[in-house]
């Protein structure tokens, strides 16, 4: 399909100074550290790879079951199992770099200080081309409420990370809030270079035959096509609230889905659970966007970003 794309179609985008050859990334936590899917697809074709969430110390994660399928979606309660920032730099980064694709490190912390410390180590070890700050994590110092559900906590994290690094800082918002635009504006004010949205919706399921929560952790994050209408709506609202570049995600399984986000205001997109259903999903999305641009006379991705706001 890609070979038939008009030569004038330029898929490249620039997100907060990171140059991507196309606007399609793979979302944090759904693509491990890049090598896991190498046997199933051409990883080097991706616009960028976002790593699994990294913490300062290794994390063992939540007790199983961690996965539960739901209609057109899935719940996960991985609980940030990861080898820690140092093991990442030593063991995973070299293989990840070999794909010659921009690497965005997704980071998470229990405290503001932890976020800043991870950001510092990432910069001084050239551990990423940009940092995606996951503010869906519980703020341990404030009773476990997610940093991202309160503008002040969000600002504290973003300011600390910005001070700690000169890498571009992308803030990844949680959708579990009353007013996403308010959080987005707070992050913009605190110096964020771009925003990713959305993280998973908080959900749960009951195993009615065992009469207990299906997940070992009770609650889990809902992802997949089921959540796309909520995610597109939030990209639309945030587009109207801030001027930052947005990375849209939540249920992308086809190029049509990706274009919904782009037309709603996302400069790039990420494929998450869609890769589980089809390892070639991101590749199909890249090719499909190119084809759509050729068919509709768009020369650059930026010409499509937010276009649906104008056509109202």
């Amino acid at each position: 399909m890609s070979c038939t794309v008009d030569a004038r179609v330029d898929l490249s985008v620039d997100i907060a100074g990171v140059k991507l050859k196309n606007p399609v990334m793979v979302a944090s936590g759904t693509f491990g550290f890049g090598t896991e899917y190498a046997a199933y697809m051409d990883v080097s074709r991706l616009g960028a790879i976002v790593t699994k969430g990294l913490t300062l110390q290794p994390r063992t994660g939540n007790p199983p079951p961690r996965i539960w399928e739901t209609p057109a979606g899935m719940l996960n309660s991985i609980g940030l199992q990861n080898p820690g920032i140092d093991a990442y730099l030593e063991h995973h980064l070299p293989a990840l770099r070999a794909f010659k694709v921009p690497v965005i490190a997704n980071v998470c912390g229990d405290t503001v200080k932890e976020y800043a410390e991870i950001a510092r180590r990432l910069e001084c070890h050239e551990g990423a081309d940009a940092i995606e700050v996951n503010i869906s994590c519980p703020n341990v110092e404030r009773g476990g409420i997610a940093f991202g559900s309160d503008p002040r906590s969000a600002v504290a994290v973003v300011e600390a990370v910005k001070r700690a690094t000169s890498l571009p800082v992308i803030v990844k918002l949680t959708p579990n809030v009353t007013d996403i635009a308010e959080i987005a504006r707070a992050c913009e004010g605190a110096g964020a270079d771009a925003l990713s949205l959305v993280n998973t919706l908080l959900g749960m399921a009951i195993d009615i035959y065992r009469m207990r929560p299906a997940l070992g952790n009770v609650f889990g994050g809902l992802s997949g096509p089921a959540i796309r209408p909520v995610a597109v709506r939030m990209v639309w609202q945030v587009r109207e609230a801030v001027d930052l570049p947005l990375i849209g995600m939540g249920g992308i399984a086809s190029f049509e889905d990706a274009l919904e986000f782009i037309l709603a205001g996302a400069s790039a997109v990420a494929v998450g659970s869609g890769t589980f259903a089809d390892p070639a999903c991101a590749i199909r999305v890249i090719d499909g966007i190119g084809q759509y641009m050729a068919n509709n006379g768009f020369e650059r991705v930026s010409h499509m970003v937010g276009l649906a706001h104008k056509c109202r």
């Binding site: 007790p63 199983p64 079951p65 979606g73 996960n76 991985i78 089921a226 259903a277």
Partner: protein, 268 residues
């Protein structure tokens, strides 16, 4: 490998167990006993069910380039699969996972199968027989009408003892009640030391594990877990294991397993 394979043959073995034979030389060539394929079940254009379903490779024929899956209908994914027909194409990833280690020279494989758990063990037995190793199989089913794959194993030359819970065929009871006896029989006849291979429901796996730990027999079990990626990326399918150094951690059933040394299992 990720590919679309053509369904060559599709038939019901019992009421709720189906056999699906696929044309996929790439998978057939490299498949190892204990490995599985990760199969898309939704209709094209539908995003529900979203996730693939893991199914063990029950047989692989390199010369024909075919792979056989044998699965039981337990929910909507397997029901959709059972509705597929010969000549249709099916999207699969595989072969995936760390399969069974062959027994050490001179050891006698004791194969313990519970219900549909016989599927990966069927492939294992064929592979063992093809290199001259004769497994001793004890295969348990609820009742005679659930019995599957036994005839084929016998035909290839495996020694098979069937156990049904209701005694409607073979010995009566649970397969785990007969492990000790089987091991003694092997010892008395062949004087070889036993190595155990098992796949089946959780209760059976737990009994097998205890027996192995008590007797010191080296045992490998194939485990199940709900899976998303099937590649090791999502960390969704983990099992708590105990490492050689005594420390506990989570390992992925999809790529670190699905076959585990019983001594490494903490809970399952």
């Amino acid at each position: 490998m990720h590919l679309e394979a053509q369904i060559l043959e599709m038939h019901a073995i019992t009421n709720d167990v189906y056999s699906m034979t696929l044309q996929c030389p790439g998978v057939a060539d490299s498949a190892q006993p204990g490995q599985f394929v990760h199969v898309a079940v939704a209709q094209p254009g539908s995003t529900d069910p979203l996730l693939r379903r893991p199914l063990s490779i029950c047989d692989a024929d390199r010369s024909k380039g075919t792979v056989e899956l044998v699965f039981r209908i337990v929910g909507r994914g397997t029901r959709l699969l059972a509705g597929r027909q010969a000549s249709e194409r099916i999207d699969l990833m595989g072969p995936i996972g760390t399969g069974f280690r062959r027994p050490r020279p001179g050891r006698v494989p004791l194969v313990v199968a519970g219900g549909i758990g016989i599927a990966p063990l069927h492939f294992l037995c064929r592979a063992l027989l093809s290199v001259g190793v004769s497994p001793y199989v004890i295969a348990g089913f609820s009742t005679r009408s659930d019995m599957i794959l036994v005839d084929r194993l016998v035909r290839y030359g495996a020694k098979v003892q069937v156990i049904t819970e209701d005694g409607s065929f073979g010995l009566a009871g649970k397969v785990t009640e007969y492990i000790e006896r089987a091991a003694q029989e092997i010892n008395s006849h062949s004087h070889g030391e036993v190595e155990l291979y098992a796949c089946g429901p959780l209760g059976m796996i737990n009994s097998v594990r205890e027996w192995c730990l008590e007797t010191g027999v080296f045992g490998q079990v194939s485990l199940e877990s709900r899976m998303a990626c099937g590649t090791g990326a999502c960390l969704g399918c983990v099992l708590r294991v105990i490492t050689a150094s005594g420390e506990e951690r989570y390992e992925r059933v999809c790529v670190d397993g699905p076959v585990f040394d019983v001594r490494r299992i903490v809970t399952c």
